[in-house]
């Protein structure tokens, strides 16, 4: 099993429950921000020393949920802080961006890192579309066209033009081209049937995070396999990435105490403001082509929010405990999902950084060795 160390770069001490999204930045403390970036990048780079196979970056906008509005900037900072670990860019929210720019920046990272990037092609969560004023109803088709254009930009040997529905570029020839040939491997979200099909059609690795129901996650994986087979390829277990909020501490009691506080901050402070904005997008647009998919998305988040920490552990939504306990929790989830890439988000909400680092070391010393061969 491979392990990805994922970081949201959350603002860890927002003082109250934010009522609206975007969240006002009038109290943003720039010096605190500088310190957080420094600490977070150090922590992410430390993941290489702790035996993680990859480090995950991501993109979010307009709230304390995450300070990584451009994951490529953090990727660039990590290139020279690491040597062999892969950099999982999870990713650029492609329909919101200029796809030629995405192709260029991913290529830069790939060349600078000697071919270590995994290229996330994310559609993003609904409210991010408000941030960049892109029609959510077009998101799926924008993603489809943008991915096609990016691959073309990576692989065409001669300058070419692109005349699409959403993008028109009279002449493209990016410098640099990617280090990996023909191009870096893609990864896409597969948290619902629509996206699982889409990922499989694009021969991308698939990722699911914030799992509320293992059976539903299994169904998405099965669908991904079926569509991949129909598209002429067979995914390996490593192509399936499953993300979990994870706290590993010396004892179960210690881990649960830390996780309880961190989850409370995550769900009630960091996840709170975007709820109404997400609802607007889901109800007023065709972000989800199938109505039930949007309902499931909101129900999934509501379910996670309402569950106690013990219920979340039981449901396989989070990992929490001593190294031995977490090993057993991973084995149990793996038995259902059969995935080959596990993603830990260890900086959950306002989890103290020293707890995160201790957890990373316990992972290195007692979790990863126990799972060799899985």
């Amino acid at each position: 099993m491979k392990f990805n160390f994922f970081h949201l770069m959350p603002w860890p001490d927002y003082p109250r429950e934010p009522e609206e999204w975007p969240v006002s930045n009038k109290d943003f403390d720039a010096e605190r921000g500088r310190q957080l970036y420094s600490d977070y990048i150090d922590c992410m780079a430390y993941a290489e020393q702790c035996g993680f196979d990859s480090i995950g970056c991501n993109e979010h906008h307009f709230s304390p949920y995450g300070l990584m509005s451009n994951c490529n900037l953090i990727g660039a900072a990590l290139v020279h802080r690491t040597k062999t670990v892969r950099l999982a860019m999870l990713g650029n929210l492609v329909p919101l961006l200029n796809p030629v720019r995405v192709a260029e920046e991913y290529s830069m990272l790939d060349v600078m890192s000697g071919g270590r990037i995994l290229a996330g092609m994310m559609r993003g969560i609904p409210h991010e579309y408000i941030a960049y004023n892109v029609p959510p109803s077009d998101s799926r088709e924008r993603l489809r066209e943008a991915v096609a254009l990016i691959i073309k930009a990576w692989t065409e040997p001669e300058p070419f033009g692109w005349e699409g529905e959403f993008y028109q570029f009279p002449s493209v020839s990016i410098w640099p081209k990617p280090y990996q040939k023909p191009h870096p491997r893609l990864l896409m979200s597969a948290s619902n049937d629509e996206s699982a099909e889409f990922a499989a059609q694009h021969r991308a690795k698939m990722g699911i995070v914030l799992i509320a129901d293992l059976k539903l996650a299994r169904a998405s994986i099965d669908l991904y396999h079926r569509v991949a087979h129909a598209s002429g390829w067979e995914p390996t277990p490593e192509d399936i990435l499953i993300g979990h909020h994870t706290c590993i501490a010396d004892t179960d009691g210690e881990a649960r105490e830390h996780m309880r506080k961190a989850l409370d901050y995550f769900h009630h402070i960091l996840m709170r403001p975007q709820r109404s904005a997400q609802q607007l997008v889901i109800q007023k647009t065709r972000y989800y082509q199938r109505e039930e998919t949007g309902e499931r998305f909101q129900a999934r988040l509501a379910t996670l929010r309402a569950r106690t920490m013990e219920e979340q552990i039981e449901a396989g939504s989070i990992y929490c405990g001593s190294p031995e306990t977490v090993v057993e929790q991973i084995r149990r989830v793996h038995k259902v999902l059969g995935h080959g890439t596990e993603q830990f988000t260890m900086k959950v909400g306002n989890m103290p950084d020293q707890v995160v680092r201790r957890g990373m070391e316990l992972f290195r010393d007692r979790v990863q060795p126990a799972l060799r061969g899985l």
Partner: protein, 267 residues
């Protein structure tokens, strides 16, 4: 689009008003220059019934002796809405009219649906901004593009009379000592429009209102001075039309495909 002039008699005296269009009602509260029928207002009247009362004392009408403050003017606007419109309505207040609209929303919120404030006056801004006394200087600050402004058809005496009415309503300083503490009571979905070149109402006013009115939206209209709808009529119409049509969902870009699928899609 023809605006018809009518009159209604309320408890404090007669109120002259203009009405045009069809559709859901939009109460338009005019700025210190008096009623002015701009192209964006004519365009809004394609989809809305616009009601534009003339504030007593403005544009040659007689003042009401018992209405002598901005707060009292808002009470009068509520009486007017009850008598003429007869149901909940959207409100657009321009500058001086925005001040009146703020009081209307504070005191008579149940009568409002959406509230649009175009460079609203009434919020103290630490000495910034203000309306110059010199007419030429005032005009320079009102419009970034004077050539787009409605033609000046009002007699000079009427304009001077309008100016005197600011004093009559205690509004000459564009600053209301009691309003700021009350605006947090506003519950109506609110859009605050500010021109990026406005030197009369400073940006701090928009920021203050955004902060105090829960769930409100502040939007800057690029390359517009104080009279946003004159300087940038298309931008004004695009955002105001979308907000009135869709409320808080106006922040979501519908795109062409959803516009085609959902009747009334405007943005």
């Amino acid at each position: 689009m023809g605006f018809e002039r009518r009159e209604v008699t309320l408890a404090s005296g007669p109120v002259s008003y203009f009405v045009a269009g069809s559709g859901e009602p939009l109460l338009v509260l005019h700025p210190a220059g008096g009623v002015s029928i701009s192209r964006p207002l004519e365009a809004l009247a394609q989809r809305r019934t616009l009601y534009m009362p003339v504030t007593p004392g403005f544009d040659g009408t007689p003042p009401h002796q018992t209405v002598r403050s901005m707060e009292a003017l808002a009470d009068l606007a509520a009486d007017y809405a009850d008598a003429v419109i007869g149901k909940k309505c959207d409100v657009l207040g321009q500058s001086f009219g925005g001040w009146e609209a703020l009081w209307l929303a504070v005191k008579h919120g149940a009568r409002l649906d959406h509230l649009v404030l175009e460079a609203p006056a009434g919020v103290p801004a630490g000495g910034k901004g203000g309306l110059p006394a010199d007419p030429a200087e005032a005009r320079r600050k009102l419009f970034a593009y004077p050539d787009r402004a409605p033609p000046m058809t009002k007699p000079v005496e009427q304009l001077q009379g309008n100016r005197r009415m600011l004093d009559y309503y205690g509004a000459i300083s564009l600053s209301d000592p009691t309003l700021p503490a009350r605006v947090a009571a506003i519950k109506a979905p609110t859009l605050i429009l500010m021109g990026t070149k406005d030197e009369i109402i400073p940006r701090e006013t928009g920021q203050f209102l955004k902060r105090e009115i829960a769930g409100s939206h502040l939007a800057y209209v690029y390359d517009a001075a104080h009279v946003v709808q004159s300087d940038q009529p298309e931008r004004f119409l695009r955002i105001v039309g979308s907000f009135l049509e869709r409320g808080e969902a106006y922040i979501v870009n519908w795109g062409a495909s959803t516009r085609a699928a959902i009747p009334g899609g405007t943005r």
